[in-house]
C-alpha cells in the first residue's frame, strides 16, 4: 500500500503542470473587430484574447476561445454552456461582472477601454458629442452592440458585414458617416485613397470598457474570478506589458 502511495505521489509530482491546470471556455464575438478580436485561419485572435490569456496563465487556468455572434454568446454564458464571454457590460442576474462595471464608464477591472469614433466624408462637420447631429446614413458593422444606442435615440442605422464595406460606401456616396474603432479609423487614414477625403472625430461616440464576464454557473470560484480580473488589470496598468502587446499588432 505504502509502495503504491509513493509511486502515485512521484507520478503526480512528475506530471506536467497542465494536468493540474483548470480549463475554461470563453466566448468571443465572431464579427471582425481588429485588432481586438478577429478570426484568422479559423482561429480567434486579438489583443483582448491575449490579455485574457495572460491574466489566466499565472493562475494555472487555460482557456479555449470560441467565436459566436454576441447574442448567442451571451445566451451561452447565461446557460453556463461557456464559462465566460469577452464583451461590454451587460446587466443580467446570471452574469458575474466586476463591482464597478456599472458605476463607472471606465472600470478598474476592465480588460481594455475601446472607443468608437465617427468617420465622415471631408467637410466642415465636427462631432462634438451630440449624436443627433450625425450625418446620415449612420453605418455600423453587423452585430455591433452600439446599434442599441442609436435605436434608443430614434436613429436608424445601416449595417454591413465589415467596416471595409462601410468606408467604401462612404467614399462612394460622399455622405453619412461610419462608426468604427479609433484603431480601424487610423488604418483607413493610412490608405492614400481615403486619407484626403475623410475626417475622424476626436470625441468618441461611445467609449466602452470590455470585460471578461463570467457565468454564475462556471466552476471557477468567485475568489479566483476576482484574481483573474486583478491579474488582467495589473498587466494593463504595467509600464512594459501594453507597449509589448500593441507592438505585436
Amino acid at each position: 500500500m505504502k509502495r503504491f502511495f509513493y509511486t502515485f505521489f512521484i507520478c503526480m509530482m512528475l506530471a506536467p503542470m497542465t494536468t493540474w491546470a483548470e480549463s475554461i471556455t470563453i466566448s468571443v464575438e465572431s464579427r471582425e473587430f481588429y485588432p481586438f478580436f478577429f478570426i484568422e485561419k479559423d482561429t480567434p485572435k486579438g489583443i483582448l484574447l491575449d490579455m485574457v490569456r495572460d491574466g489566466l496563465t499565472p493562475l494555472g487556468i487555460s482557456a479555449t476561445f470560441k467565436p459566436f455572434p454576441l447574442k448567442r454568446g451571451l445566451k451561452m454564458v447565461e446557460s453556463g454552456t461557456v464559462d465566460a464571454i469577452i464583451a461590454p457590460r451587460v446587466k443580467n442576474p446570471k452574469f458575474l461582472l466586476p463591482d464597478d462595471a456599472f458605476e463607472k464608464d471606465v472600470s478598474v477591472h476592465r480588460i481594455l477601454q475601446i472607443d468608437s469614433v465617427i468617420v465622415t466624408y471631408k467637410s466642415d462637420y465636427e462631432f462634438l458629442g451630440d449624436i443627433k447631429t450625425l450625418p446620415i446614413p449612420i453605418r455600423i458593422t453587423l452585430g455591433d452592440p452600439i446599434e442599441t444606442l442609436f435605436n434608443e435615440n430614434g436613429l436608424s442605422v445601416d449595417d454591413a458585414p465589415s467596416g471595409t464595406h462601410n468606408i467604401k460606401k462612404l467614399m462612394r456616396d460622399k455622405k453619412g458617416c461610419v462608426i468604427t474603432t479609433s484603431l480601424k479609423a487610423m488604418t483607413w487614414l493610412e490608405n492614400p485613397d481615403y486619407v484626403n477625403n475623410m475626417d475622424v472625430s476626436t470625441e468618441p461616440v461611445v467609449s466602452r470598457s470590455y470585460f471578461l464576464i463570467f457565468s454564475k454557473k462556471t466552476s471557477l470560484g468567485q475568489d479566483k474570478i476576482k484574481m483573474v480580473w486583478n491579474e488582467i488589470a495589473k498587466n494593463r496598468d504595467d509600464y512594459i506589458y501594453p507597449i509589448k502587446l500593441f507592438t505585436a499588432y
Partner: protein, 570 residues
C-alpha cells in the same frame, strides 16, 4: 424693474466663478516677466480674442493634457490652467501623472488612435519615435496652415532654448519644448573648498580636490568622502557618502541609462546634438535607418564602453547611501539636500528647485541664505572623445497626437502656447527651475538672484549648454526602453546576489543589445524603419574607426577648480 435688474445681477454672479480674475489682474500676477505690463496685456488679449468662437463651440468640454509630476507642471495645473480659463473660457484639465504613465498613455494613443489626452508634455527623447510613427501633429505645418489663426503672433520661436530637440531630420517642429531639464554634476562646494579636505585629498591621491573632469577622478572623490565626517552649515555633523544613485526596479531605472549614461561613458560617436552613426543608446544608423545595437551589427550597446558604463554604475553603489536600492529618479532627486552627500554625477536639475535645496535651515544652505552646493559639467568616462556630447538634457515638450483634430487641436495648441508664453515663462521658471526661453535666462531679475541657482544660470547662458542633449532621432521607438528596464532589473538582482561585476555587465549588455535588436527587427514604421545589418565578428567592427570602440586603458584622473571652471561658462 428693480427686481428684474437684481435678477440679472444674480444670474451673472451665479455664472461667474467666485475666484475668477480679470485679464488685467492676471497680467499683474505674472510679474516678473520678460514682457512689460502693457505687452502682457496685449498678449493675453490676443489669447482672449482668438478663443471666443472656440470657447463657444467647446462649451462644457474640457481639454485634457498630461504631464509628469514636477513643480513646473503643478504650477501649470494650479495657476496657469486657471488663468487660461479666466482669459479664454477654455477649460483645461492638466493631469499630473508619473513620467511612466505619460509615456505609456501617449504610446497607447499613437498605437490605437484612442484619444486619452488632447495634448501631452512628452519628453523630446521620443522624437525618433514621433518622426517614424508620423503620429503627432507637425506643428511647423500646422502653424502655417490650419492652425495659423491660432498661432500666437508673439510666440517668438527664436527665443526658445534647444528648439531642435523637438525637430525631425528635416527641421519640422513635432514637439514644442515646455520645460528644459539638464542633468549635471552636483557637489558640495563648501566641502570641496575646505582646506583640510583639500590637503588630505592631495596627500592621498596626489592631485587637487576639485570638480572631476573624468570618471577616474569622480571615483577617487567618492572614495575620499565616503565614511568621512563632515559638517553642514546648520551645525550638523554627518558621515558622508561620496556618491548618490537610484536602482529601484521601475521605468526610471531604464531612464537612468537611456538618459545618455552610455554616451557619458563614451559609447557613441562624435557629433552634436547626437553621435553619428552611433548614438547614446548604442544604435547605429545608416541613412537615418537604424541597423543595429549589437557590436556584431555595428552598434555599441554591448561594446567595451557600454560594459564599462554598467560596471561603474554597479561598482559605485558602495559609495552611495544604502537606501539607493529603494530610490527612483523622483525620490533620489531631492535626496542630496539631506546634507550627507558630497557629490552626485547624475543630478536632474528638475529637483534643484525643491525647497530642500534652498530653504533656510537646510543642511545645504549657508548662513548667508545661499546654497553651499554647486552644479558643474558632467564628468565623462574613459571612452569619451572631444566632439561628443558631454551630458544629458531633455525638454518636456508639448505634443499633440494626430488623433486630436479640429477644435480640440486648436484649443490644445492655444493651451501649449499660453503655458510657455513670454508672459508667464519667467514666473514659471522661478517656481519650477526648468527654463524654456532665453528671455527668462537672460532677464535682469535672474542677474540679481543668480547666486541662488548655484551655477545653473551660467550653464544655460554658456554655449557649452549645447553639448548636453537628449536621446536623438536614431532611436526608432521609445518602446525599446522596455528591454533596458527588464534587463537592468535582472542584472541588479544578480548583483545583489554577489555576481562578479565585469562578467555580469558583459552578459547584461550582450542580452540587452540582442533583445533590442530583436525588438527592432519586428518594427514596421512609416519612415526610416529599422533594417538590421547582417552579423559580423565583433573584431571586424571594433577595428573600424569610431564607435564601437575597442577596450581602453584606465584614464588619468583630472580635476579642475570650480571657480576656474565657472569662468569658462561665463
Amino acid at each position: 424693474m428693480k427686481l428684474k435688474l437684481w435678477l440679472v445681477v444674480l444670474v451673472i454672479c451665479a455664472w461667474t466663478p467666485l475666484n475668477a480674475k480679470t485679464l488685467e489682474q492676471w497680467a499683474k500676477e505674472f510679474e516678473p516677466s520678460a514682457l512689460s505690463y502693457d505687452e502682457r496685456v496685449k498678449e493675453l488679449q490676443w489669447f482672449r480674442d482668438v478663443s471666443k468662437e472656440l470657447a463657444k463651440k467647446l462649451d462644457g468640454k474640457t481639454i485634457r493634457s498630461a504631464a509628469e509630476h514636477i513643480k513646473t507642471h503643478f504650477f501649470e495645473r494650479d495657476v496657469l490652467s486657471e488663468a487660461f480659463f479666466d482669459i479664454t473660457g477654455l477649460r483645461v484639465n492638466h493631469n499630473i501623472i508619473g513620467e511612466g504613465p505619460v509615456v505609456k498613455e501617449i504610446m497607447t494613443q499613437l498605437r490605437t488612435g484612442r484619444v486619452i489626452e488632447h495634448i501631452y508634455v512628452n519628453d523630446a527623447d521620443l522624437i525618433g519615435t514621433h518622426l517614424r510613427y508620423q503620429g503627432v501633429v507637425n506643428l511647423s505645418d500646422y502653424m502655417k496652415g490650419e492652425g495659423k489663426k491660432y498661432t500666437n503672433p508673439y510666440l517668438d520661436l527664436d527665443d526658445w532654448l534647444n528648439l531642435e530637440f523637438g525637430q525631425d531630420y528635416s527641421g519640422n517642429q513635432l514637439q514644442l519644448p515646455d520645460q528644459q531639464f539638464s542633468n549635471l554634476y552636483w557637489f558640495r562646494y563648501d566641502w570641496f573648498t575646505d582646506p583640510k579636505n583639500k590637503a588630505d585629498f592631495k596627500q592621498r591621491f596626489g592631485y587637487e580636490l576639485g570638480v572631476p573632469i573624468n570618471w577616474a577622478a569622480y571615483e577617487d572623490i567618492a572614495k575620499f568622502f565616503t565614511g568621512r565626517k563632515q559638517t553642514n552649515p546648520d551645525g550638523s555633523t554627518v558621515t558622508a557618502y561620496g556618491h548618490l544613485d537610484y536602482l529601484k526596479p521601475s521605468p526610471s531605472l531604464g531612464w537612468r541609462f537611456t538618459d545618455a549614461w552610455l554616451s557619458i561613458a563614451g559609447v557613441g560617436d562624435k557629433g552634436l546634438p547626437n553621435g553619428i552613426p552611433v548614438d547614446e543608446w548604442g544604435i547605429r544608423v545608416e541613412n537615418k535607418v537604424p541597423v543595429g545595437s549589437m557590436v556584431e551589427r555595428g552598434g555599441a550597446m554591448n561594446s567595451p564602453a557600454a560594459v564599462y558604463a554598467l560596471s561603474k554604475f554597479m561598482e559605485w553603489l558602495k559609495f552611495a547611501p544604502p537606501e539607493a536600492k529603494d530610490l527612483e529618479w523622483h525620490t533620489a532627486g531631492p535626496r542630496a539636500a539631506e546634507g550627507d552627500v558630497a557629490q552626485r554625477i547624475f543630478q536632474y536639475i528638475t529637483w534643484l528647485s525643491t525647497d530642500a535645496f534652498h530653504q533656510e535651515g537646510s543642511p545645504v544652505v549657508g548662513k548667508d541664505g545661499f546654497p553651499v552646493w554647486r552644479v558643474a559639467p558632467t564628468p565623462h568616462g574613459r571612452y569619451w572623445d572631444e566632439g561628443m556630447k558631454v551630458g544629458y538634457q531633455d525638454a518636456g515638450s508639448w505634443t499633440i497626437p494626430n488623433s486630436v483634430r479640429g477644435s480640440y487641436r486648436a484649443a490644445a495648441w492655444l493651451w501649449a502656447q499660453f503655458a510657455s508664453s513670454k508672459t508667464v515663462s519667467l514666473k514659471k521658471f522661478l517656481v519650477g527651475g526648468t527654463p524654456v526661453r532665453k528671455s527668462t535666462i537672460n532677464h535682469p531679475h535672474i542677474d540679481k538672484h543668480i547666486k541662488q541657482w548655484a551655477g545653473l544660470i551660467e550653464f544655460y547662458r554658456s554655449p557649452a549648454e549645447k553639448k548636453w542633449t537628449d536621446s536623438g532621432p536614431n532611436v526608432p521607438d521609445y518602446a525599446l526602453s522596455v528591454t533596458w528596464v527588464a534587463n537592468l532589473e535582472q542584472a541588479l538582482k544578480e548583483f545583489h546576489n554577489g555576481a562578479s561585476i565585469p562578467e555580469l555587465a558583459q552578459k547584461t549588455m550582450d542580452k540587452m543589445a540582442r533583445d533590442q535588436d530583436d525588438m527592432m527587427a519586428t518594427l514596421k514604421l512609416r519612415k526610416y524603419s529599422p533594417q538590421l545589418n547582417p552579423i559580423k565578428s565583433k573584431d571586424y567592427w571594433l577595428k573600424q574607426p569610431g564607435s564601437p570602440k575597442p577596450e581602453r586603458k584606465p584614464e588619468k584622473p583630472e580635476t579642475i577648480a570650480y571657480d576656474q571652471l565657472i569662468k569658462q561658462w561665463q
